[in-house]
Structures are given as C-alpha cells and as structure tokens.
Symmetry: C2
Subunit: 322 residues, 2 copies
Amino acid sequence: MKISIVGLGLIGGSIAQGLKSKHQITGFDPDKNTQDQATKSGINIASDLNTCVKDAELVIVAAPTTQSEEILRELKKINFAAIVADICSVKAPLLIAAQGLNYVGTHPMAGSNEAGFSSANKDLFIDAPWAVSVVNETNKEALAAVINVICELGGFVVPVDPHDHDESVVLSSHLAHVVASAYAKSVGESEFAQLAQLLAGGSFRDLTRVTTSPAERTAEIVWPNRKSLSRVVENLGENLAKLQNLLDQGSQADIEKFLASASSLRTISDATLANVKNKQGNKVVSKIDNLVSDFLKYSKSRVIASDFSITNSEVSYLVNEI
Amino acid sequence: MKISIVGLGLIGGSIAQGLKSKHQITGFDPDKNTQDQATKSGINIASDLNTCVKDAELVIVAAPTTQSEEILRELKKINFAAIVADICSVKAPLLIAAQGLNYVGTHPMAGSNEAGFSSANKDLFIDAPWAVSVVNETNKEALAAVINVICELGGFVVPVDPHDHDESVVLSSHLAHVVASAYAKSVGESEFAQLAQLLAGGSFRDLTRVTTSPAERTAEIVWPNRKSLSRVVENLGENLAKLQNLLDQGSQADIEKFLASASSLRTISDATLANVKNKQGNKVVSKIDNLVSDFLKYSKSRVIASDFSITNSEVSYLVNEI
C-alpha cells in the first residue's frame, strides 16, 4: 500500500519504521534535521505536504493537535479523496476538522518520555492499546485499512466514540501527567526535598517518571481537553481532602479501606490486557459490511479487539470486554 | 558473623537470602507457613524470639513498625547487649523504643507490590538507597557492622538524622502511595473508568503500579507518619488547585511552565544515583574513630555513600552530595 506519513516525531517516525518493510512509505516533516535522520534510516522524504500525499492510498497525520487540524484542512482544500488517519490525543475536535475527508481518527496508547525521530522505534506499539474512533460516517474500507496498519505494528484495537475517548484519556493519561507534576512540585517545595530525592524507591520512581516528558509536548496534549481535565483535577482534590480528613480524624483501618478501594483499577486493566496478549477472548466472525456497525456497538460497550483477519467479504477477530 | 533476623517477610526474608552464604543466619517468624518456607530454603529457624537472638552478634528486626517496637522492648527486658538494627519506615519512634540498646536504625528503599517470604529474593537491595540513622549515641562498631551488611546486600548508604528521615519518606514514599490511590479512586469514580482502563498507557501504568501493594501493609507504614503526611497532602491539594486555576483561567504556556517546574526532581535523583552506580564520587579516607561524627555531618548535608572498605583502624568510601 502507498502510505504517506505527515510528521516524523516519536509516533510518526515509529509508524514509518514499523511499516517500511511492508509498504511504500513517503514521509514529510518540516524539520530539516528530522528530514535528514529519516532519509538516513531509509525513509523516502517529500519536500512538501502536497508532494508527500500525492498518489497515497492512506495518509497518516502524526503531528501535534493544532498542526494536525491545519493539515486536515489543507487536505480538504485539495479535495483529497484517499483514506486519512491521525494519531492525536483528542478525537472530537479532529473529527470536526476532518469533515468531508475519508477519515478515521486513531490514538495509540504508546509513547515515551523521549521525543523526536531519533527516539522512534518500530516496536513502540507492540501490545499497546490503540483507540480507533468510529462514527456513522466512517467508511468500512478506511476502517479496515487502519485496523490492518495497527495490527501490523503490533497494537490492539479499542473501538471508541470520539467524545468518550476524549473524556477517557483525560483520566488515563492527562490527569496522570499533571498529578505526577503536582506530586513532584510538592516534594520539591519541601525543605526535605534533597533527602527525599536520595531516598528514592519504587513509589517515587513510578510517580515521577512521566514528569521527565517534554513539558511543551504535555502542555500541547492536555490543552485541548482543559475543561474536562479541570473537572477531574477538582475531583482528585476532593479525594485528597477526604484522605486528609481520615489522616487527621480517622483510624488506621480507615486509611486501609481508602487504599484498598483504589487497587482494583490496575488489576482489572492488567487482567484484560493479559487475556488479549494470550489470544484469549470471544471470537467474532462477521461480514465486512457490518464492520462499522459492529464497531459502533463496541464503542459503547468497552471492548479491546485483537487478532484480526480481514478479507473483502469477511472479518474475524477476538474481543475482550472489560 | 552470627546474625539473627526477626521477621521473615519480604524484607527480612530477602536479607536472610542475601546473607546466608556469608554469615551464620538464624531466623524467627511467628507465622507457621513462613517458618516452613524459610526452613525449606535453608534458613535455620528458631522456635521463639529468645532462642533466635541467643549468641547473636547482630539482630536485625524486620517486622512491621508496631511489632518492631515491641520486639525492641523485649530485647531491653533481657538486657540484650549485642548490636540491634531494624528496617522500619519510621526512625524517630524506633529510636525511642530502642533506648538502652546498642542500636542502629535503618530503612532500605526497596520493596515490591508483593509481600511475604515467598516473594523474598537476595537481589532485592542491589543498587537501592538504604537509610542509616545516626545520632550522638550511635556506636562505631555497630554502625560499621550495619554498613557492612548493607554493602554485602548491594545497597548504598544514605546517612540520615532520624527525624529528617521520617519527614523525607513521607514525601518520597508515603505521599506517592496515597496520591496513586487518590488518582485511581478518581479514575474509578468516573463514568469513563472502563474505557480509561482499556486505554492504559505508560502514564496510567506508572501512576497505578503502587496501588496494587497490599493496603494493610501500606496503611501500617503510613500511619505512624500521619501528621506529616496530612500536611504534605494538603500542600499537594494546594498545588492541584493552582493547576486547576491555570486550566480554567490561564494559557497553554502557563501549563507548560507548571509542568516544566516539576521535571528536575527526578532528573537530579537519577543523575546522583547514576554517579553512585558508576563508582564516581569524592573518595573519603578516615579513621574508624571518626565514623559516627562524619556520618552525623553527612546526615545534614544529604549525601549517598558507597564502595566502603572498613578495617579496625580505617574506613574509606565514596560520597555523592545532592
């Protein structure tokens, strides 16, 4: 397949590395250094957006959110007719920007505290959940092509409604980043910060890892979701206030209860992902004509889909419900 | 050396496993199942505390805080004269319980979300910071013996004042645990919790890992420090409120500034530990007579010490200041 990738940072670069042995890849990135690095690693680089997407059967837009919206608008201007996908961490605003295109919004739940093409690697998406946004207008061939690429990269497919996706990543990703930073700030402000840094054990290391992500990138990612993020930050503040009250007025048993009530979230997530990795799940065999309507149903019932086999007439895969 | 280990959970068990090839180890644990497991793995088990500590040159108390305080009082009752150490996550209360004993308080910054002797392993402490509490009354031979054991287990020594230690682990460990739980609670309370669990990427995984630790153990660990913990939880709540204000009223650049201000904490901690692992640092050669007074100074200037060589007259080691 002729695939064009617009934006060759960590995500776009990793997609290019992962697909180049199977597809005819053309990349574009405005950064000269990135162009040189990508060329050196054997990726064909176009000089501008129009040249990059010419003749492409699938265009993957892998730029920051604001630039991705602009690129989608550029593609509309030239009446681009082939399939367009993106990888942005918000999906509802992108859907609006993509109106009129043959578009499928996606979001890989993989990354690194590193950034740029130099950190890209073809294995970045192995066993990673990858959100695929579906709406009534989604085209079945476009959806199938995007699922194929995700599977080739080693990812698992999570069908999502774009609005539900945006609310969910506020919890699973954006809140995690800002809470980690608030934790690090509070530690840093203490007169005992230096000794705490020396006494860094597993809990400190886990809580602070994401604070080393580039602040510019994280701010860019959370900004479009700031309203929802503000609301969940407030909720977290209320939970911390409850905890403080238990520390001041409650018993050791109360603290234990508070901690125990929080532990199932990760356990359930791990167990579901383990099933998917071990190729366990309910096998679905369906007509390709039903792909979009099936995915629309899944986008409300919270499943992760894997092990796809897609032909012109039929599609089979495993689903795990959470 | 004849070393007795009282309490054979994850920490005590791992110490026993790590020292059994070099020392004559006797263990005691009230749990019958633990006794059987430890015996099977080649550790000599005593039937009670008194039998366990009889003839010991060093006793390491590796029980939960409340039990450890009781064990120290038991040892005082029998006028136990050899060296006594503990591994509790608070040091000031233990110092009081140990008054009259030849005592050195310690706290290894290593652990796991698992618990019990079955999870113990001799490599648990490799490259782990290990707090060693020093006060005017600390005996130099006792301090040297404890340092030796920590080095044999692969750990690095962080000399601490017991009160400073307690304030610092509230930040580096206890706050991290309760914040992770509050984060998981807030995610779990949302109507989008299930989708968030499916879209679990690196940030979600990092933030929730410690929530799978046994709630009973974490509650037991944080409880003695609840006053300090309440204070830092409040400070974190204030930082979250500031962040919320920036999300509501500020700009993307404000969010970026907030995130950037938090990133150095982990970077500095990593860089210091990397120096220690690579055997870089300032070499100190000193008389063994100065060991306690040198450590008292370090306990205020925030150093991590490694690569010890201790004889009857001299001690040499590397120090890295943060």
